[in-house]
Symmetry: D2
Subunit: 333 residues, 4 copies
């Protein structure tokens, strides 16, 4: 941390701040600049808490230097993490396509869509059994019955399955059925859930919170890794901005930034970013072109009958077109 002093800070004030730095167990190194002094804080392990300094006389600014995350950092592991789920790999040059309905609505629906997305080129199947819904009056998912349908999809169609976990009470049963456990946007900083995920043997797909900085997102991943689970996949799904021509604003610069800062794979969910079908294919192409490690896309054979998020679900033939276009782009690089 760098402590910037006021221009007119007195030697006594500078000395008091230096003493506080040392009282906290760090080393203080004052830097006499042109018109003000700054004090470098050294010998800290991890980020320095600013609280001790923020109200001290003569202190103008506190500037953090150290990154708060460790295990997720590219500095702690230089080679890309690649996550293997059966025959499917995620990360480091693979382009992994995950597709399926927002919610599992029944066996016929799930099997129909799974067969279609597999034929189109999907590597994994997605579908919610426990659904986080903004309204208590909306369809909340089939629960354990939905998980069993997912197991049938894996068995009959041959696709590994991704599904969301919502709480501690249902974590064990989700873990039993899912190949990848998804932690949703609204739970990105549900720290109890993250700790539980850290003790899981399943890979975890961690969606970015609606207003999360990359630092906060990587710190959420750090919770999981700190618990011992190194298999974390990041999923960008758009952030909330003033914009309203799409449901969220897809933040594609997150991809090169995360790839520089972290070794974890990062995929994109263009469906939730767009919130409307006609933007999903263009955004999917952009996601492949920016260098993401994969895509997660909502597909429904009868979107107008879907019990949730039908407006953003692709028809199976649209998804087939998406796969072709994305493959063409991936093949270029």
């Amino acid at each position: 941390m760098l402590i910037v002093m006021e221009k007119n800070a007195t030697p006594q004030q500078i000395d008091a701040v230096s003493k506080m730095v040392e009282k906290r167990g760090y080393e203080a190194r004052p830097i006499p600049g042109g018109d003000r002094v700054s004090i470098c804080v050294l010998r800290n392990k991890g980020a320095v808490d600013t609280a001790s300094f923020i109200g001290m006389a003569g202190v103008k600014d506190l500037i953090p230097v150290t990154r708060p995350y460790k295990l997720v950092s590219r500095e702690s592991q230089s080679e890309d993490t690649v996550i293997q789920v059966g025959d499917v790999a995620i990360g480091n040059g693979h382009q992994t396509l995950i597709a399926g309905p927002c919610a599992i609505e029944g066996e016929a629906q799930a099997l129909t869509i799974a067969a279609k997305v597999k034929a189109a080129g999907a590597h994994m199947f997605r579908g919610g059994a426990f659904k986080p819904r903004t309204s208590p009056y909306s369809f909340q998912g089939l629960g354990v019955e939905g998980l069993k349908i997912l197991a049938k999809v894996r068995n009959d169609i041959g696709l590994p399955v991704v599904t969301e976990v919502m709480d501690l009470d249902t974590f064990d049963v989700v873990e039993e059925y899912a190949d990848i456990i998804q932690i949703g946007t609204r739970n990105m900083q549900n720290f109890s859930l993250l700790r539980r995920a850290g003790r899981s043997h399943r890979p975890v797909m961690l969606k970015r919170g609606m207003a999360a900085t990359i630092d906060e997102w990587l710190m959420a991943a750090e919770y999981i890794m700190e618990g011992g689970n190194t298999q974390v996949i990041l999923c960008e799904r758009g952030v909330r901005t003033f914009v309203h021509h799409s449901r969220n604003t897809l933040d594609l610069s997150a991809v090169p930034y995360v790839q520089k800062e972290s070794h974890l794979p990062i995929i994109i969910d263009p469906s939730h970013a767009a919130g409307r079908r006609d933007q999903v294919i263009p955004l999917a192409r952009a996601s492949a072109a920016v260098g993401a490690h994969g895509l997660m896309v909502e597909v429904h054979h009868q979107p107008d009958q879907a019990l949730s998020d039908g407006a953003q679900s692709l028809f199976p033939d649209q998804f087939e077109k998406l796969c072709q276009q994305v493959r063409h782009i991936s093949d270029l690089f």
Copy 2:
């Protein structure tokens, strides 16, 4: 809902949309405007799902009309909800002051601060036993030991206590000790937690999510009320914007808007909005002046020793000044 058709939509397209409206169980009322037709959807109970219509030929726009919430709505209950905790009332003209440290760090700390904030004018005590922390390496709270200290504060000092619940596993024990159960910003859309809170006999303080619209916030309160718990207090604590001279941007227009839309009490947390001590008192005055039903403020007798959020904690004498100023303003109106 209003379905706006393209200017050049054909009679067949208009007819197909009307038929879909009726297939969904609603009534379709086409409105032939100057240069385009719109179709009003009638006889719906609750919000109409847009999915069925968004991809149909000739459809330009879907405009929601119905508000999604019911029980929290001023339309369903015209008089203000007032929540009584012992001798303390929250809502409808009361100005309730809640103060205490971010986290309970020990018995001496809690009792010292509680005595001071009570002397200054606080009606309730706040303090975290289970702490949601961005980093897994930060102090996570004393847990049940912290809850017991809160009970001692209530007993010895005579202030009801507010404390946060983080998950289903610890809900029962928090419910046992707390007078008001707080659901934090990062859990505002933790729907499992909301459902559990709906079955609680304790009042619930629901903090607004960092990027939550008022609709989403009221829908989260609806989850709690739908479960049978009518004692919900809303707490605005700043939203995330591009601004960085404060930690969050306090959205004070939420107060008159919520008071118009809902009968629930709304209080303000200026400490988390500001993130820095020197803005807390001005924002507290503004909160009282805008008409909020109360304030929740972080106070610590030794902020530079605090284990979390010391930078935004007031000194006890600053809190005393805050109480005086806020009372003067409340007395005016």
Copy 3:
């Protein structure tokens, strides 16, 4: 417009609103819904001003239906506008590459960079002669001398030139030298400048404001078209959000949305969106993949010597790589 009445609005209130609608010269069509009445406003030309209704007794909400723009609308012109500048076309399937330094710093600098970007594949040259700078102490551009250097670039290197106009006083001289006149982000709603641009015979590149909705951006283009100049190119360059790992957040869903709403060409400036060199090439690929009509990119042969925005300027060999990758993607579709 749709006027939504309160549930308990009286017949007298509904009647009063209807009368006000008719007093304004429109037709009122009340729609008796399940539990509330809404009133459709018909026969309006253009958007209805909400002011007359917003305070009336019994009125709950005013919902705009009509889009405010006309001339820029896809509904008023279904085929794509293509803008021709010498041999270079912008719009409808072309992928136009515009490159050059942020600011013209001297003849040698401009000619060197222009030769390099032409060799790499650029179709046009960009460079600022009049520079909008956040600080009055920063380099403000060479002014008319810069424009003369641009003319020399066009003449010697054979690339049409794009340069920014900042005010009415210098519009004539910029118009004399530029092939395309750029209106910058900070001037997107400088309506006097837009009106002057509407009387120009030069094509205008209109950058999106930092916090402009698409509606506002298209309305700014409408100002230019309303003045008689139909040659408008839209340029997305990122919007301001809470995110700080890039300077702005590139809003790529603007591309499919604008292409649906308007017939005007839309290009992307990944350099200003990123604000840092290492994100420019990935975002450029994404821009081509999403379907933009072109790119405008900052290139400097000595970025560390650049007088402005060097941190985001590509080296010429990086720009060459960008051109190759973008061409490969464009060739696919």
Copy 4:
């Protein structure tokens, strides 16, 4: 500036960065930390351009330390600026109330409203003669005729007048008639206009841009002061966020922050922040309570007839109530 090196940066890389610092004319001071080296840049006058360093091998981060503004800074002038317009003072403990219609629509309208707001307690009159409008089809103001009406208001009613200037062409005539010249939100970074305002002998009211940081806003004020005009009033009017229950989000923490950073007076425009009448009085109270030096409020005697922004205009009796409440609050502190 602080240059943070990668953990594994080599001595050669550190040396190369230090040499570049010195080549730029500064002093480099390497700080050997626990697990990485940082390099302090010293002897710089004003902010250091990051461009030279951002791409260098081994460089992880560049952290600005120096504030970019000088003349507006509290560090350059410790006592508050107070601006005197006739008998009216703005700044340092005064609570200045400015009121009037959005636009001057005619002599009778202006005189009627001016008489009413004066009676209610306003110190100055506001009204637009040149109106920046989002749509080219909306009422654009009466122009010079409107300025003449403002002169009549000053003469007949005895209130100094504030009115907006939109461009260089009309600056002289606005300057001739106005007591305070307003630069609007959309022109906050119209640097040509700011430079012209810097040569004016009139006080300038500079509204904050819709997505401007405080630094950018103060830098815009710096443009005016750098030109020689020291009479600048800052006006906060809400920023654009994801929120849509008010037109903009009023950023009241800007008041204590600006008052700490700068000596310039800061007032609040609650009308444009709210965009709806029913939030204006609560936000005005909050503005007075937070410590702003004044308020600018839209008032119209017939809001439903107003040619612009009627939805947010108070009735005169509402404004009278506002004045009373604001005075009560101001009297407290």
